[in-house]
Structures are given as C-alpha cells and as structure tokens.
Amino acid sequence: MQMEDSGFSMMMTPKLAITCIVITVISIMIRLAYVIYQSSKPLKNLAQQPVSTLIVLGSGGHTAEMLNLVSILKKERFTPRFYVAASTDNMSLQKSRVLETSLVDQSDNEKVTKATQFMQIYRSREVGQSYLTSVSTTLIAICHALLLMIKIRPQVIICNGPGTCIPLCIIAFLFKVAGIRWSSIFYVESIARVKRLSLSGLLLYKLRIADQIFVQWPQLQSKYPQTHYVGCLM
C-alpha cells in the first residue's frame, strides 16, 4: 500500500510540475499580450496629473533633436524630469542643463527645476570595442540601468538612438509586464534615417516595446506602418 502510494505521488509530481510550468507560461503570455495590446492605446489621464519623465539623450545630433522636442513640451505636465546620457558623453547633460536653466529664467519657477535630475549611465558597448569584453560591459550596463530604473520608475520615457536607451526601455517594458510600473515609451527615430529604421528603432518596433515610434520622413512611415510621421526635428 505504502509502496503504491509513493509510486503514485512519484507519478504525480512531474505531472504537477509540468502543469505548474504550463500555467505559469500561459499566464505570462497572457500578461505579455495584454501589456502589448494596452501599450498601443492612449492613456485615459482624466485627472491630467503631471507625469514623471525620463529623457534619454543619445549624443551629438540625437541630443540636439531631443532637446528641440523637450523645449516645447509643457514643463508643468512633464515633471519631475530625469535626463540620462551615456557616461562617455559629456556634452549632452551640459546642453540639457542649459535648456533647464533657460526655463528658470523664463518662468522663475523654482519648483520646476528642483524636480529635475541629471544622470549618467554606462554604455554597453563603445564604438570599436571587442565583442569579448562587450559581454562583461553589457552586464554592468544592464545592472546600472536596472538600479537607475528602480530609483526613477518613470511614467513616461522619451528617447532616441543610438543604443543608450535600449536597456532602459527593456527594463521599463518588464516593469509593465511585472506590474511594477506602467509607463509610456516614445521613441523618436533620427532625422538621418530616411529609408530604414536604426537598429534601436527596429528592436523597439519589432518587439513592440515602444508605445509610439516617430519618424521624420514619410517614406520611412510607409515602410513601417505602425510608426508616426512627424516632420523634421532638425
């Protein structure tokens, strides 16, 4: 009897485990599908509360485009603001500081600037770095991005290329799936991209991580129908 019983439970355990795994996988897939479906829909922000905003500065021309956009957003809506740039990029944060300082002069609103923070993030790979060392630097970059995202937990992410934004966007998406924080992710493709999306843009497009992708040329929009054509930012 005892022997039979243990044999029975031995038979059950793998079955139970498989059932558990199947249920878990199915529920994760349902949650994923729900998040992807929900991400494409506009928010119902009836109270019109300000949203904490993460602004990822690419570098060089990317930063210039991003700051052109940020400069016309209503600051009282997008607050607090967190600017992030690659640790090897010294110019971008400086330029965003100039923009934020000019805002103070305009509105004399101390509250607005107190809510603004500037941060640097490790890049996963520098131009010309070997692929072998890239593995460890990528791991470090991901950990650093995770720490930043836990700290910031933004409701809105506005970013553009190159790759600096990718770990941040993926973490934000996982936060959505896990129910930690719902965020809206906006990606602006560079004006230099006329015929094909950049690698970053393509990743966010194909994996449906970005809620909205903006492109600056009409032919790019017709090639990638889920994007939005917005004209030139430069």
């Binding site: 506009p42 928010l43 119902k44 922000n45 009836l46 019109q48 949203v51 060089g60 021309g61 210039a64 052109n68 956009l69 400069s71 016309i72 957003l73 209503k74 809506r77 809105v156 506005i158 809206s184 906006f186 602006v188 560079s190 004006i191 230099a192 991209r193 006329v194 015929k195 094909r196 950049s198 809620d211 909205q212 903006f214 040329w217 939005h228 917005v230 004209g231 030139c232 930012l233 430069m234």
Partner: protein, 180 residues
C-alpha cells in the same frame, strides 16, 4: 549671391569652406585640391578655399592666391566651425548630419560629399533625400568637379525651420493631455 565685382581687379572675398568634421576623409580633400576643381571654383567667382581636414593625412597645397588662382589654406580641427561657416559663400561638407544642418540653417549653399569608405553608410540617405528636395547638392569624391561645374546655387531652396510641435501633440494626446 551672384558674382560681384566680376570686371574689377579686386574681387570681394568669396570663401569656399570644406569640412570633414572629426572624420578622416582624404578622398574629399584630394578631390578639392585638384587643379580642375580649384579652377572651376575660381571661374565661378570664388576667391578663397579653406579646408578643415580633420584626421586625414593628405596635406593640400597652400597658395597665397592672386592672379587667376584661388587662395588655399587648411587646418585640422577647431573647437567651433560656426565662424567659418558664417563667413563662407559655399560649403563643401562630409555627410555628417551635424554639419549638414548647421550649414542649412545658416542658409549657405552646400555640397555634401558622401564618403564611400564608411561601412554602414546610412548617412548618404540623408544627403540624397535633401538633394532631392533641392536643399543641397550631393556628390561623391569623383563627381565633385562635375557637380561644381553644373551647379546653380540660386536653384537651391531654403531649408524650413525645425518643428517639434507635431511630436509634442501626439505625445500629449497619447498621455491624455489636452492640445495646447
């Protein structure tokens, strides 16, 4: 910006500024430094040629200018090329988006020369698109001479100012904020 003082001995300074940015683009510097190109520029009424040659190793020949030839000078880098662009009558640039838009915003005639040696050459896309819209001329190092010979600077259209309002509108709408 037609030719001025064409019949006078003393021509007003008409500067051609060549920039390769932080790149190494010897093919462009070489193409500009050929006798053919320099003569054609002179025939078009330009008097001075200033070359920012970046990390390239090809050194162009300096010239004080004077009778029937262009004054040529060069430098490697400067902290800002804004003043050079401002004083130029014609800009010949590599295809980097930074110098393209800096030049267009100043309303200067621009020839963009695409560097074919670059591996992932998506930047030529931008130059070709802007050339199609008649905001600039697009050339390759070997076609620079014919581009200069055939160009009509007055046919270029001014580049419209950037407008971020459409993006801001879409973001606001998506987040449930009213339009401004």
């Amino acid at each position: 910006m037609g030719g001025t003082d064409d019949d006078g001995d003393v021509r007003s300074v008409k500067m051609v500024f060549v920039t390769v940015g932080t790149t190494c683009f010897d093919a462009l510097v070489k193409a500009v430094d050929t006798q053919q190109v320099k003569e054609e520029l002179f025939n078009k009424g330009y008097t001075h040629l200033l070359i920012q040659m970046g990390r390239g190793s090809f050194i162009p020949t300096k010239s004080a200018g004077g009778l029937g030839c262009l004054a040529v000078d060069y430098f490697t880098f400067s902290s800002s090329i804004a003043d050079n662009l401002k004083s130029a009558s014609l800009v010949i640039s590599h295809a980097g988006s930074g110098s393209i838009f800096e030049t267009l915003r100043l309303g200067k005639p621009l020839i963009v020369v695409v560097n074919e040696d670059l591996m992932d050459n998506h930047q030529s896309e931008l130059a070709e698109e802007l050339a199609e819209r008649k905001h600039l001329f697009c050339a390759h190092p070997q076609t620079l001479y014919s581009t200069i010979a055939n160009m009509n600077v007055d046919a270029l259209l001014p580049y419209p100012p950037a407008d971020a309002k459409p993006v801001a509108k879409l973001i606001n709408r998506f987040l449930g904020f009213p339009d401004d």
